[in-house]
């Protein structure tokens, strides 16, 4: 019974790891088409990653960095207002900033696309298909992660620490940066990381808001190339991304503990 249970757990883990392992395995073949098992071990495809894929990865990284920066800058202050603001504003902000999590991202993409088409008719400014249009859409889906992460940090702030800083002569802003922000830093980092990930992983918003010259992200480029065939260079680049992701996760786990990151993630 116990052995059977262990076998089941092992099988589930094999299932969880399988697609990642097979991306790595098939990146080392040397045939032009994917085949299993790969015939000869070769690093050939690592040297022949198509420029379109690399460009798309670069766009993805830029968009994810911009999205994480915007979502974090705006989200931190939203969380402050939710935790400490006055009147009805905090309740409104809280509901509004978490809402994009429970709306399918495809709906957000479609809605934003139509809104930008309408504003194009009126103002002549075209956002869909541009880099900043893409970042706008991805920021909407990223803000909830930052707000949630930061709010979790607010629960741990000891108000006496702020009072102590003030009574020792610190200005309000100095106290904010020296006492309050460090206290919420773990939540902030996890929020910013999840915001980056929300953008890097995003397809449904990019599908409508991206696709232009500077807004064709890595996932969009992969989707486009799938219409022909799955070339091994995609596997080679994907392997590099997997390795980078795992290293980043290990670092964050060491610094902050991954448990913190678990609750926020949600994607389609």
């Amino acid at each position: 019974m116990k052995a059977l249970f262990r076998l089941l757990i092992l099988a589930i883990y094999l299932f969880l790891m399988a697609p990642l392992i097979f991306v790595v395995i098939s990146s080392f073949g040397d045939a032009a088409m994917l085949a299993f098992p790969p015939r000869n071990f070769s690093l050939r495809w690592y040297g022949q990653i198509s420029p379109e894929l690399l460009d798309a990865l670069w766009v993805s990284l830029q968009a994810a960095a911009a999205t994480a920066a915007i979502a974090t800058l705006l989200g931190v202050w939203i969380a402050f207002a939710v935790a400490r603001g006055r009147g009805a504003f905090p309740a409104l902000l809280k509901g509004l900033s978490i809402a994009p999590l429970s709306v399918p991202h495809l709906a957000i993409g479609v809605a934003l696309y139509q809104a930008t088409m309408l504003s194009w008719d009126f103002s002549g400014v075209q956002l869909a298909g541009t880099f900043w249009g893409l970042v706008l859409g991805q920021s909407v889906i990223a803000v909830p992660y930052v707000v949630r992460g930061t709010l979790a940090g607010h629960a741990h702030i000891d108000p006496r620490a702020e009072e102590a800083a003030l009574s020792l002569g610190a200005s309000r802003w100095r106290a904010l940066f020296a006492v309050t922000l460090p206290a919420i830093r773990p939540g902030l980092v996890s929020g910013a990381f999840l915001a980056f990930l929300a953008s890097f992983d995003d397809v449904p918003v990019a599908l409508f808001m991206g696709g232009g010259e500077n807004s064709t992200t890595f996932p969009l480029q992969v989707l486009a190339s799938l219409e022909y065939s799955l070339k091994p260079d995609i596997m080679a680049l994907s392997t590099l991304i997997i390795v980078a992701s795992v290293v980043l996760m290990a670092i964050l786990d060491r610094l902050f503990g991954l448990e913190r990151f678990l609750h926020g993630r949600s994607a389609g």
Binding site: M1, F5, L16, M17, P19, L20, F22, V23, L34, A35, F36, L74, W77, I78, A81, A83, R84, R86, G87, F89, L93, L96, S97, P100, S102, V103, P104, H105, L106, A107, I108, V110, L112, Q114, M117, L118, L136, G137, V140, V143, E162, L166, R172, W173, D201, V203, P204, L207, F208, F218, V222, S238, I241, I242, M249, L258, F261, L262, A267, G268
Partner: protein, 293 residues
């Protein structure tokens, strides 16, 4: 000299006395312009109808919604989507229970690493996870190569470019979510309760059904609601593993808006998808209320 004394407000958890509402306004503007206004526009578009060349015309009408619930083609897309959601949610629950139970109760020194491994797929781009299924499930993939070599099948099993592949990849993508939800509730169950059940003669199977399962249904309900809502609205996985042959709500919406330019009809489909995605969370909330009452 500036006075350093500030009024102490024990109720506010805030000694700094900064006007906190003001700095949040840029964030509010982003959410209003990028979320609220577009969503309202979406609702507005959905109750108009499509003219030619992507024009949306009045007057206000329910014609789109009536078409969605009466036309057999649209009903089939809706049915496929719900079926996909139900199947994926059910399989996820079946696999997540043993996994979550193991991760909570295990005293193995590898527990931390196994937890890390369980989360890893969540942090890897979904497109990469999806294409990783082709060398496994494709006609020349590992499973078919092995089965053919063993002589168990005479031609490759069709495991990708159909609903089977979509189900497998979605279960893979969503299993960690369900597992995390179950871990949260199973952690709260004292091992002593299970021990008591076993000392009273219950076998592990019975102690699971009569102790762990009832005490974890809150997490199960939350997990099912989350997994179902992501599964029915997923676009990436049905596109990649469906090979253009699997029409679910999300792929259908993208097609209607981007290729056919039926903005109004696409908007109505999107609203319907939203309602379907939320349906299970509403149902499960009612179910829990009834059980707790």
């Amino acid at each position: 000299m500036r006075s350093r004394r500030r009024r102490f407000r024990p109720d506010r958890n805030d000694a700094l006395g900064i006007g906190w509402n003001g700095p949040a306004i840029p964030g509010l503007v982003l959410l209003a312009a990028g979320f609220v206004v577009p969503m309202l526009l979406l609702v507005g578009y959905s109750v108009l109808h499509d003219g030619t060349n992507g024009q949306v015309k009045g007057p206000i009408t329910a014609v789109n919604y009536i078409a969605i619930v009466t036309d057999p083609l649209y009903l089939r897309v809706l049915g496929n989507t719900v079926l996909l959601g139900v199947v994926v949610t059910f399989i996820c629950a079946c696999l997540a229970y043993p996994l979550a139970y193991f991760l909570v109760r295990s005293r193995s020194r590898w527990r931390g690493s196994l937890m890390f491994l369980m989360i890893t797929p969540l942090m890897i781009s979904s497109v990469i996870r999806n294409i990783g299924w082709f060398p496994i499930l494709g006609d020349n993939g590992a499973i078919n190569v092995v089965l053919l070599a063993m002589g168990l099948i005479s031609r490759p099993l069709p495991l990708v470019n159909n609903l089977t592949g979509v189900v497998i990849a979605l279960v893979h993508a969503l299993l960690p979510f369900m597992t995390l939800m179950l871990i949260a509730v199973i952690q709260a169950i004292h091992p002593e309760i299970e021990e008591a059940a076993r000392m009273l003669g219950a076998n592990p199977w019975r102690s699971f059904w009569e102790v762990v399962f009832p005490l974890s249904r809150r997490g199960l309900a939350a997990g099912c609601a989350l997994v179902f809502s992501i599964a029915v609205s997923s676009y990436t996985t049905p596109t990649i593993l469906g090979g253009g042959r699997v029409l679910v709500m999300a792929t259908f919406i993208a097609q209607q808006i981007q290729s056919v330019l039926r903005y109004s009809f696409g908007s109505a489909l999107t609203i319907v998808l939203f309602v379907v995605a939320l349906s299970l969370s509403l149902l499960s909330a009612r179910w829990l209320e009834r059980r707790d009452a």
